[in-house]
């Protein structure tokens, strides 16, 4: 990367714009801002930003709609930033193609971490896919179908590996229950979340140092799970 990554911020609140501009510039990002959905869509097309930060409540178009429209032609990472903190909105946004979701008010560390993850995944999408994902002391080797804990192989059943590998391949991003169940068991419209709970529980017992205080397989309450790497 010869230039600082470009971030498009779509948010109609001037205070948020002012704060984020200052903070992101100080953290070596370039930033362009849009105050409504139309402008956001236009700038997303014209400037090809590396990451889009999108508010759900916009004066013209609904944020979900903006997200869906961008997804029709671009896989640019979209991070939702919203005051709506109910799980249904979060799941809807993620299902509409958003990559991540942060609730206002948020810690700036958290936002910067999410931006870095988004950038990493968009680089991977360009070709050089990581096949070894590390979350100390666990290493998931996707190519060799191998999971090690401090170098020792962790014995996993086929389903457990499928689940863990899927989460690891999308590391540091939240995956909704539905997405995971769809991938692992092929459930399309299912409420059998208990299967997932059971398997996550089993996995935690095998890979977490303290299964009651998981550091790798993180629950995103009401939404899904996140494989947290050691960054």
């Amino acid at each position: 990367m010869d230039r600082d990554p470009l971030i498009l911020l779509v948010d109609d609140e001037p205070q948020i714009q002012r704060a984020l501009k200052t903070i992101l510039v100080a953290n070596h990002f370039r930033i362009i801002t849009a105050v409504n959905g139309e402008q956001g869509l236009a700038l997303a097309a014209a400037q090809s930003p590396d990451v889009i930060i999108l508010d759900l409540t916009l004066p013209d178009i609904d944020g979900f709609e903006v997200c869906g429209q961008i997804r029709e032609w671009s896989s640019v990472p979209i991070i939702i930033l919203s005051v709506r903190d109910n799980e249904r909105d979060k799941v809807t946004a993620l299902d509409k193609g958003a990559d991540d979701y942060l609730t206002k008010p948020f810690g700036i560390e958290e936002l910067l971490a999410r931006i870095r993850v988004a950038l990493r995944h968009s680089h991977q999408a360009l070709g050089n896919k990581e096949t070894i994902i590390t979350a100390d002391p666990i290493v998931v080797d996707l190519a060799r179908h191998l999971v090690t804990n401090n170098g020792e192989e962790v014995k996993l059943t086929a389903t457990e590996f499928k689940l863990l590998a899927y989460l690891a391949a999308h590391s540091d991003r939240v995956l909704t229950h539905q997405t995971i169940m769809n991938y692992v068991w092929g459930f399309v419209e299912s409420d059998h979340i208990e299967y997932l709970r059971v398997y996550i529980n089993q996995l935690r017992k095998k890979i977490e140092t303290n299964p009651d205080d998981p550091k790798i397989l993180i629950t995103d309450p009401g939404i899904g799970y996140r494989f947290k790497t050691s960054e």
Partner: protein, 498 residues
């Protein structure tokens, strides 16, 4: 099947013998038969009886027939006994001719006495019948009024009115329809009796008060038409029903007004409580930030960190408060809609402890959760809030350094969770109210809080179909709550590893 058929035959038989023409025939036969028997009896003892005594004794069947069969048959019996008396007991026998003038006088007197006696008897019987009917009417009215008393639900009123009407009158079916009122929809209730009747209703009566028509009473009558008394009683039933409906409506309106007044009072109390809670963190933030902006003061890095930490912590506090207010308004509006999914209570508790580590620093939290605790259908985020609030309450009131224990167990078809802390004894009168909005045991300035936390817990647990309560313990205080273990009547399905 056989009993049903037998019943059918009995009902058919009963109805058959009630047919008016048959009744008349029976009564005629009865009249004739009793006079016939009397005459035979008298003929047997004729030698011992004087004619005058026979005349006197002939009054007996006349009286009995009047009493049992009514005036018409009584008079008929009087006439018939007059003729038989003449025919069999007045010389010349077996002829209606009378020779002695004395006998003629006896006969005429007999006829007159028989007629007068049966008329007098009939009148007294009739007035006693009316008295009985009045009493029956009064009893029925009393029953209806006492059954309707205190009912505030229009469906109950419709049910009582239909039931009492069916019990009182010989109708085959009764239906009550109560008109829509304000936000209540139309209520219809109907019930059929064992009496067979016509397929189509023959009478509709408005349930009318002095102000409006509240609904209508529809009747499918049995075979017998209503007499005047019954018609009057039915009208009284309708009036009472209408009054009961009107009263229920007025009570409901009054309750709504009271709820509005109550919510107004709560709003005021909320504003008072919340403005204090909002101002304190805002004051801290404002003070810290404005201090940092004073360029003349060279802040050392420790002081700077201290001020910035204050800003961040107070912001979190504000955010939590706003979240609580939103939750409360959702609970109030009945808009709390838990997304119930199979969740592990253990996982929820661990997540809460992780997030609240800073607040729990002065207490030691002990978990006693069985390894095999089943998954429970809950909304993860809402349950996090319940535990957060219960823990926050525990840390506020339990002394620093004390233990907070969270335990859970499976009981029949639900899970019971207990959060035990070592806070002081809570007087019994407060125990019942600690889950009420804005209920504070201590003075507002001693312990911070809006008094919303526990009422939110209650709202959430109840939205999950559970119960929450608190108890004093010998060595502290406990919150208990239960959660149903089934989702739509199902336990979690188990998936076998293929």
């Amino acid at each position: 099947m056989t009993t049903k058929r037998a019943e059918k035959i009995i009902v058919w038989g009963r109805n058959f013998f009630r047919h008016p023409i048959l009744v008349i025939i029976f009564k005629l036969l009865g009249t004739g038969l009793s006079l016939y028997l009397t005459t035979i009896l008298f003929q047997l003892f004729e030698t011992y009886l004087a004619v005058q005594y026979v005349a006197l004794l002939y009054l007996l069947p006349v009286i009995l027939i009047t009493l049992f069969f009514g005036l018409v048959f009584g008079l008929l019996a009087a006439l018939l006994s007059f003729l038989t008396f003449d025919y069999f007991f007045i010389q010349p026998y077996h002829s209606l001719v009378v020779h002695k003038p004395q006998d003629l006088i006896t006969l005429v007197i007999f006829l007159l006495v028989a007629i007068v006696v049966s008329q007098l008897l009939w009148q007294s019987k009739k007035s006693s019948q009316i008295a009985v009917a009045r009493e029956h009417e009064a009893t029925r009215m009393y029953k209806l009024i006492s059954a309707l008393a205190g009912l505030t639900d229009t469906t109950d009123i419709a049910r009582v009115l239909v039931k009492q009407t069916l019990d009182t009158f010989h109708f085959s079916k009764v239906q009550v329809q109560i008109n829509a009122w304000e936000d209540e929809p139309v209520t219809t209730y109907s019930l059929a009796s064992a009496i067979r009747g016509k397929e189509t209703p023959s009478m509709k009566k408005d349930l009318q008060t002095s102000r409006i028509i509240e609904g209508e009473l529809v009747i499918w009558p049995g075979r017998n038409p209503l007499n005047n008394e019954e018609a009057r009683l039915l009208q009284a039933f309708c009036d009472q029903g209408a009054l009961a409906i009107e009263r229920a409506h007025l009570i409901n309106r009054e309750n709504k007004t009271r709820v509005l007044e109550e919510s107004d009072r709560i709003k005021t109390s909320l504003l008072n409580s919340v403005s204090h809670e909002l101002r304190s963190p805002l004051a801290a933030i404002k003070a810290s930030v404005s201090s940092l902006r004073i360029e003349a003061v060279p802040w050392d890095s420790d002081a700077r960190v201290e001020l910035l930490t204050t800003v961040e912590e107070e912001t979190d506090k504000l955010n939590l408060l706003v979240g609580n207010l939103l939750d409360m308004s959702r609970i109030e509006a009945g808009a709390l809609d838990p997304q119930k999914k199979w969740n592990s209570i253990t996982e929820i508790i661990n997540s809460v402890i992780r997030k609240n580590r800073a607040n729990l620093a002065e207490h030691s939290v002990v978990l006693r959760l069985p390894e095999d605790l089943p998954l429970v259908p809950t909304d993860f985020v809402m349950m996090e809030q319940v535990f957060t609030n219960l823990l926050s309450n525990s840390t506020k009131y339990a002394p620093a350094g004390s233990e907070i224990e969270i335990s859970a167990k499976e009981l029949d078809d639900h899970i019971q969770v207990r959060v035990r802390n070592q806070s002081p004894f809570v007087p019994e009168e407060h125990l019942k109210h600690i889950f009420d909005k804005f209920h504070r045991i201590t003075q507002a300035d001693k312990v911070t809080g809006t008094g919303l936390g526990l009422s939110i817990c209650k709202g959430i647990i109840e939205a999950h179909g559970g119960k929450i309560w608190a108890e004093n313990l010998p060595d502290g205080f406990s919150f208990f709550f239960t959660l149903p273990g089934k989702l739509n009547g199902q336990l979690p399905t188990k998936l076998e590893e293929s």
